[in-house]
Symmetry: C2
């Protein structure tokens, strides 16, 4: 009889990771749950430095995008909205890290399901028309395409067919008129994103993100303004790597590290 | 009393224009009706040189896109589908031009409204599942945004809200399984194009066209395959002008003049 190998006792089950050259840190689970990467940093780069008021980071996970905005936009309060108690726990612990002391007063966690509607949403702490910015990095993988073994990852990565409709409906409800919605998605979600914005958000600006100039886009960055009637713009792309190199292009590296943001073409 | 000035007697009411460095010519109305430009040439560039079988150019006008494909793809027969008798007349006269003698046997005109359905479509000469390629350059301007004074131009430029749904429905009906749909549209029509393709056409490949690298796209080039279940690709953009120059970039110039085509990434 062969006994199963015991778990390695020295394996840490979480990590503390530095972002933006150490300007903020996140406590993240290791080997379980979603870990933040460049998607969250590019999403954060859609919010301008001079943003004011309140921002909701919907599906915040451990808080990467919300933290990245908070570091750059000192006049903004950030609510990290996360339904998973497991991930919300890491968001709270990230806020409590000594390294994040200067930011902690401008970050809160709301443990709530983004898909709630009506009174249930209000009861969960997501009030009507209070946010000046809403950012979201919704789960990417279609429900039929789950390759993620653990439940927390599956939860973070599982995309329902009507997900953008539901998430953008909530964004529309909690955003003030004139507020900016910012999101990152796969190109295959283009139609769902546009349809979700519907009459809630207009003036869509879509920036494709290509690994290399000659390759197809792997992400789209989208901003839109609540109540705007302006048309859709398809902007010039961001290219992650110049030539054949493995380093990020200067522009993407700056966005990825909070040294620059990606301003809208139009304020309306 | 002031009499109105008589029309200038020497003003020609039509022109014969050379395209692709003289490889084909079109008779076009002057000052009335739609005149072909780069949109038709970029649309034509979506069809590969080695295409075979039959191609339908929906809303062909005087035939610019269909002619441009016929010149490059010698094994293809091209049906120019146009509902305006006025424009179909010019398409027929273009086919009859001595300069186009070598192409004439591979070009036909079907005077039919693309929006017909069912028996009316069949009766108009648009048969089920006979085309290997369908190309379309649908009217661009929203019906509410008519700035074109004359009726023929207004007809060519007026876009109905459900236009892409209707045109792509017809494309889906007349295309063989596995046939390629190619179209050019404004970025604002992205959602309508994707929705129109629906389950009829998959494997969408979208190429934005930007005037300059740093400016927003003014057109999208879209290809899709009938019956494909492949996902959507957002491809690297075509840029019309390098730097600050007024000349076309080498790539766009080659596409515009039939010296190259824009192949799909995937055949499915």
């Amino acid at each position: 009889m062969v006994l199963p190998a015991p778990p390695a006792p020295s394996e840490p089950c979480e990590t503390v990771d530095a972002f933006h050259y150490g300007r903020f840190h996140l406590v993240q689970p290791k080997g379980r749950g979603h870990r933040a990467g460049m998607d969250a940093m590019l999403l954060a780069a859609l919010v301008p430095d001079d943003a004011t008021g309140r921002l909701a980071d919907l599906g915040a996970g451990a808080g990467a995008a919300g933290f990245a905005v908070a570091v750059r936009a000192p006049r903004l309060h950030v609510d990290l909205v996360e339904r998973s108690a497991f991930m919300a726990h890491y968001a709270r612990r990230s806020i409590a890290l000594p390294q994040n002391g200067a930011l902690a007063g401008r970050l809160s966690v709301i443990e709530a399901d983004v898909t709630l509607a009506g009174r249930a949403r209000l009861a969960a702490g997501l009030a009507d028309e209070v946010y000046d910015h809403v950012v979201m990095n919704p789960p990417f993988n279609a429900a039929a395409d789950r390759r993620t073994p653990d439940a927390e990852k599956a939860d973070a990565h599982a995309m329902q067919p009507d997900m953008f409709e539901t998430w953008i409906r909530t964004a529309g409800a909690i955003a003030r008129p004139g507020a900016q919605l910012s999101l990152i998605a796969r190109p295959g979600s283009l139609a769902a994103v546009i349809a979700g914005c519907g009459r809630r958000f207009g003036g869509l600006e879509i920036t494709p993100v290509h690994p290399r100039a000659e390759e197809a886009a792997i992400r789209i960055l989208v901003t839109a303004i609540k109540g705007s009637r302006a048309g859709l713009s398809l902007r010039s792309a961001l290219v992650m790597h110049d030539g054949n190199g493995h380093a990020f292009s200067p522009r993407v590296n700056a966005l990825n590290n909070g040294e620059a943001f990606h301003p809208r073409l139009s304020s309306r």
